[in-house]
Amino acid sequence: MNGPGTNGAAERAPEGWRDLSRFIPWLLGFCVLLVLPWLAVNPYQNYLLNVILINVILAVGLNIVKGFAGQVTVGHIALAAIGAYTSAILSVKFGLPFWLALPAATLVTGLAGALVGIPAFRLEGAYLALATLGLAESVRIFISATDYVGASIGFSDIPPPMLAGKPLGSHIAYYYVVMPVALVGIYLSFCILRSDIGRAFKALREDSLAAAAAGINVRKYKLLAFVISAFYAGCAGSLTAHMSPGFLNPNSYTITEMVTLLLMVVLGGIGHIWGGVIGAVLVTIINDLTVDFYQYRLAIFGMIIVLTVLYMPRGIGGVIDRHFATKRFIALRKAKASVNA
């Protein structure tokens, strides 16, 4: 029998395989990450590993709105604060377990992201940066002045996640909460950005007028970019809150932290997913090695951002891309030469 039905099934089979094989590198990555914390020589390194992963989530989210959709926002750090404090309030004041506080904080931050996105309907570039900076600072100042969340003293005793009646208080245990979330976050950002949504983001970054003329609802996609990136920020914020010692302070959400976050994305590569991840890892480590120079950080990181934009506009990700493109080109030329010979 050679009916159309059998034919169709034969065609579908390899496609199914292609879809499955997409997951193989992710599974391999997951396995490597499973053993990673056991390479750490002390608990501090485990703590640092968690901070790196949380920053990866933040940077991947920021890359969506800034790198792909081209919206110059300086409000991302405030969204992380909203996620962190929402999660803290829900678990400390309302007794919600971490496993509910995390998604709830993510959702609330998504809504806050929509509010940050509304100025983007009318403003662009430096004006948008100023507007979002204003929003971000008011969030921080509000937290600093609100006794309910510990004001400028800080919010303490936020409980760690519980699993089967046991707290995941140690850094190594917490790693197994943070790591899967970070990996899923990166994977989802691939799904989003490799789809039509990612293309629409890039189109409005490059020329929103031409994008609109091609049928893209500019407002909808700007808002979507802000909301998606806010989900990431909220999730990262919540993960920060419940990490031991379970303490939050408004001073962790200042302009210095925002510039640090920007540096991750700019140095890693604007609009390059892995670039953003690499940037987050590098900058977090640099950050940790230079804690003693915190007061100079704003100046130094700001300068590195300017230098990167001037001399390496597509960041580390861009350099890697070019390296591979050159390799492919050389291989192609060799293949052609051998055909001619």
């Binding site: 799904c191 789809s195 629409a200 031409a210 003329a213 091609a214």
Partner: protein
């Protein structure tokens, strides 16, 4: 199909388009000509809702009033346009440019895309295949993966045309599609446009400075000057209209000699 009535646009004191009426039939090829700054591009920008027209203007498409609708809505209804300065996405690949044009026809939603559902990947493969076919039609298939910014000017014009065609429009508005091309390339582009028009039964509105293009291809020609419609009719009649010749050359030059030259061209 397109009914424009009493369309006006002012920029400060300057009247860029003044009380223009325009009616384009289904399947027609309409030429728009006029000297520099006569309001041709502004007319397109008003129809595609890039600019907001003055009160009292009315634009209807397929019998529906679309005045003041947002640009993406106009595009979704089947009006595609190219820009005089092209505005292709230079940092994206040639194929991606077409995929952007095809945005309104993507058959999966945000939710499916976010979780990377299998049908999203299947649909992406279908979209890419369809757009590769279209790229073949405009003669850019070999450049699919190249950044659009690396294309030559002629290829860019083809890409702008391809991106508009990817929208599967009913009405296609081309703003000087052949400007800056060598005569050979003008013919090539024109042949492509006409082949597309026939194949998809498009309604075409073309702004063009190259008179040969207008005279040979258009059913009707509309002439603008200082934002006003000064003449309309079949190309042969327009060519002899004294107001048109005056508009192009100024009164004093519109003598018999020039007229003869225009006729010969």
């Amino acid at each position: 199909m397109l009914e424009v009535t009493n369309l006006s646009k002012r920029f400060g004191g300057l009247v860029a388009v003044a009380n223009v009426d325009l009616s384009v039939r289904q399947g027609e090829i309409r030429g728009i000509i006029g000297p520099n700054g006569s309001g041709k591009s502004t007319l397109f920008n008003l129809i595609s809702s890039v600019y907001k027209p003055e009160p009292g203007s009315r634009i209807a498409f397929d019998g529906e009033d679309i005045t003041g609708r947002p640009p993406h809505d106009i595009a979704r209804r089947g009006i595609a346009r190219t820009f005089q300065l092209l505005r292709i996405f230079t940092q994206m690949s040639v194929l991606e440019n077409l995929l952007i044009g095809h945005h309104s026809h993507v058959r999966y939603g945000v939710g499916a895309a976010v979780v990377g559902a299998a049908r999203v990947w299947a649909e992406e493969r279908r979209l890419k295949q369809e757009m590769m076919d279209l790229l073949g039609f405009v003669g850019l298939a070999d450049y699919a993966e190249m950044a659009a910014g690396e294309l030559s000017i002629g290829q860019r014009r083809l890409l702008a045309l391809g991106r508009a065609m990817a929208m599967r429009p009913k009405l296609l508005m081309l703003d000087e599609p052949a400007a800056g091309l060598s005569p050979v390339n003008v013919d090539k582009l024109l042949n492509t446009v006409m082949a597309l028009q026939k194949r998809f039964g498009l309604t075409l509105v073309i702004i063009e400075h190259i008179l040969k293009v207008v005279m040979e291809s258009c059913d009707t020609v509309t002439v603008l000057d200082h934002g006003e419609k000064i003449a309309e009719g079949p190309p042969a009649a327009i060519k002899d209209d004294h107001r048109v010749i005056e508009a192009y050359l100024g009164k004093e030059m519109a003598d018999a000699e020039v007229r003869a030259f225009l006729k010969a061209s």
